[in-house]
Symmetry: C2
Subunit: 351 residues, 2 copies
Amino acid sequence: MPVSTPESHTRVLLAERPVGEPTPASFRVETVPVPEPADGQVLLRTVYLSLDPYMRGRMSAAKSYAAPVEVGDVMEGGTVCEVVASRSDQRAVGDVVLAYTGWQEYGVVDARATRRLDPAAAPVSTALGVLGMPGFTAYAGLREIGRPQPGETVVVAAAAGPVGSAVGQIAKISGARAVGIAGGPEKCAYVVDELGFDACLDHRAPDLAGRLAAAAPDGIDVYFENVGGAVLEAVVPLLNTYARVPVCGLVSQYNATSAPEGPDRAPALMSAILTQSLTVRGFIQTEFVKAHHADFLRDMAGWVADGRVKHREDVADGIAGAPEAFIGMLRGRNHGKQLVRVGVDPEGAGA
Amino acid sequence: MPVSTPESHTRVLLAERPVGEPTPASFRVETVPVPEPADGQVLLRTVYLSLDPYMRGRMSAAKSYAAPVEVGDVMEGGTVCEVVASRSDQRAVGDVVLAYTGWQEYGVVDARATRRLDPAAAPVSTALGVLGMPGFTAYAGLREIGRPQPGETVVVAAAAGPVGSAVGQIAKISGARAVGIAGGPEKCAYVVDELGFDACLDHRAPDLAGRLAAAAPDGIDVYFENVGGAVLEAVVPLLNTYARVPVCGLVSQYNATSAPEGPDRAPALMSAILTQSLTVRGFIQTEFVKAHHADFLRDMAGWVADGRVKHREDVADGIAGAPEAFIGMLRGRNHGKQLVRVGVDPEGAGA
């Protein structure tokens, strides 16, 4: 039964460009009237908002693949929504859709900018996680760049998170060894015991480099880069000839305010690239949608259904709690895909 | 007419692993008996020895794509030689061959480890330069990794050298703009006026970054990396989305004894890789011989013959002068492909 649409709703704006780590003051929560859809548009009620590390980049004005969020604008983000009013024959009231309406309770978009979800096929929240952008990032990055072969060793950090967990599990399906890196013993136990990685190292414990060398005795063939920093430094000396390094994120350095103190590690990185004939390739998953998204939905839905790919969600409640959940996620406090439950799930299901 | 073979010959050994820049003390010149070929082997008299930056890597024990030269062993290197004795039906006395006999006047190798050259087709010294390993490095790195498209901008350093000069000229043939970087106004004038690059910047003059930005107003699509260091630092902020960076050398850092002082530039490099979806790929030309060497010989010989690719050689005289010529080359003192004329050219031609 549809929820009746209120007069006003709550949204979260970028209040200022953070210098270093975002704080609550980086955001402003405000209440405004619910907008009206124009011709061809739909009014959407947000059910789940996805919080992802890339959003830290959108808060900055630095050159990137995407334009930044302007100060005073609504924070961007992927959402699962219910259609509550439609002025398009493509979407009906009650449809559950994937959209990009951002950090707000209601949003108006072109009906064509939404993708309809089938709540009977999978919990709709998974369209933001294992069956959504993070899962596809893992899938496409491995398929296009990483190309793990049977017997090879794949290393990924943030291994309990939505991208890392999918990377390791897809690597296992490909016949490779999966070595994860995660923050704390609880996450590491989950990565090995639940997700089936061959090993998982706590990056907070001492001597990551030595433990990684022990966990990857034949070297590293694929390093799926999503964190940078100390993990990258530990990985580089272990990369084998022709190793591949898909780079989808660098969460450890998103809050940096200047180049870190030396020594300068760029020469050692370039030297490894040269002497080991490495391929280091940055990417954003949108580049590969046309080539691989249909295969992804088929493969990943099958793997989730038969239990070969497991996933976990960490759900905060209420749009006003999004800033705190986001700040916590950048600190690694989440356990699994970070979502915000913004409104009631029309199926009563979900995470 | 064959030169008569002496009893003894001169060769250059690695005397010690250099710490930092090699010095004359890094090498030892000695005179030893000329060896005898065994069954299947040929005795070769060196005509030209090639000196190349990669040899600095072979002097170190650091992990690399190739085993190092051991202290006390003859320095390795590509050579053009005359067969002076043969115990193989594959090579006859008087044949001129490409071999890998290193820094010595005579050498014995398996006949099958040589490639016969046709002195009528091109001066035999070119088999070590524009029609040899350096030319092929440029050709294969562009064809496999750089893939310059019409209207794109290709940047290469050491642009007066054998790899850089070929990179820029092949880029021009591909319809791209070529921007070179070289040491000093004389080399830069040569690169533009003789080789036909669109621009060449003197890396010894101030504000390389600013001048490079002005010379590449549409950004950089291919950076053919052979030097690293300050040039790389100036290039990175100008790289366009999906730019390609073939890495064939890092001559500016070969003599480094430790990681340079900070700031740490690795995060900025990784950030560019991520946000611009860059491909950075190290390679050594041997990887691509099977796929591209026949095409290379055909294409490059044609370009040299019709004047579309020009080249220049810098020839030192006598094997005992090889260390000094090598040290000078690492300092950028050579102008064009660095060779050592070790013995008389059987054709009387050559550089």
